[in-house]
Symmetry: C2
Subunit: 203 residues, 2 copies
């Protein structure tokens, strides 16, 4: 908003530098102004490049947000198969995909870095204003549940607790549970949050 | 273990300094060696004081651990009433106490500091090797549930997720839910972890 979009003077030399400058500008903007308050135009302006170049490198604002999060996988892609088949068994299918990513040692390291950065003030804002509309709500909408804006954060509360105990704190027995036991233990909780009887305002 | 317990040379001048030196020594030892690997004698030695003085100021090793965590309340004291009355409704009674502490603005700040420090490597060790045996397992034992060492970490996973979403990330609708709605939403989850049918090894 404040930075002029057309300023091109300090555009970096290589395309890798340009990508990095855009990503840094995007992270700063998402952290300071949230997802809704961030525009491609302002990100481009702060990075000293054209808005068209941001679109060229990163696609839509959603794509730029996911790139700024530096996730090792695109949750929209890996979760797509779990979202087919309707609400019956949806929690179990979701958990199977979740575990296939998080139990993979190569995925865990970048994901744990993300978890740690979330506790920074900017990281919390990024999660609240971006993660929810970009990743969480679309899952609920794809499952066609009622009140996704109420139910998906409940699902997130147990999934975050599972991430903290299984991968961050490594609390036994959760840290060493088989995938089958994780599913048998947590899927009923998640399924109730997705489709069970809950106190929901306005209902 | 390595520091001689009898060294008294650099014992600080005031009792406030002495308490602080003992606390710092205790925090370092719990973080490095865990709860089980920490002895009052070694903490005293590293602080340059007598073991008897540590007992005098802080009581037992459990008490010293809780003092090192710097909790604004002693969970053993505030939770005691919730543990009476047996397993029926135990999750709801637990949640009511939990919310009375965490929803109190004066309690929240020191508790949030604790949450942030838990993500440090030493904090994770402190939580895993101390929080579980000192705070979590005694709750399960007081409730006389079967397999407290399996069930209480499951309860912790949802409580940690509730802390993260309601107080750290402040994710709606969880952040603004009334206490009654928090109880109606999460007590069934916790009650199942405490007493429901779960895959438990050796059962």
């Amino acid at each position: 908003m404040s930075a002029p979009a057309g300023r091109r003077g300090r555009r970096p030399g290589s395309s890798a530098d340009t990508r990095l400058a855009i990503l840094e500008s995007a992270r700063a903007s998402f952290a300071e102004r949230g997802y809704a308050g961030t525009t491609i135009r302002a990100v481009a302006g702060a990075a000293g490049v054209d808005a068209a170049l941001v679109h060229h490198y990163f696609g839509s604002k959603d794509d730029l947000f996911l790139a700024a999060l530096a996730l090792p996988v695109d949750p929209r892609v890996v979760l797509a198969p779990a979202l087919e088949g309707g609400i019956d068994g949806a929690a179990e299918r979701f958990l199977r995909v979740f575990l296939s990513v998080w139990d993979d040692p190569e995925m865990q390291l970048p994901l744990l870095g993300l978890v740690r950065s979330v506790l920074d003030p900017g990281g919390v804002e990024l999660l609240r204003s971006g993660f929810v509309p970009i990743i969480l709500l679309p899952i609920g909408q794809a499952l066609r549940i009622d009140h996704p804006e109420h139910r998906m954060p409940l699902l997130a509360s147990q999934v975050i607790g599972l991430i903290m105990t299984r991968y961050v704190i490594r609390l036994e027995p959760i840290a060493s549970m088989t995938a089958d036991d994780v599913v048998a233990t947590f899927a009923p909780t998640l399924q109730r949050y997705l489709a069970g009887d809950l106190p929901i305002e306005g209902d």
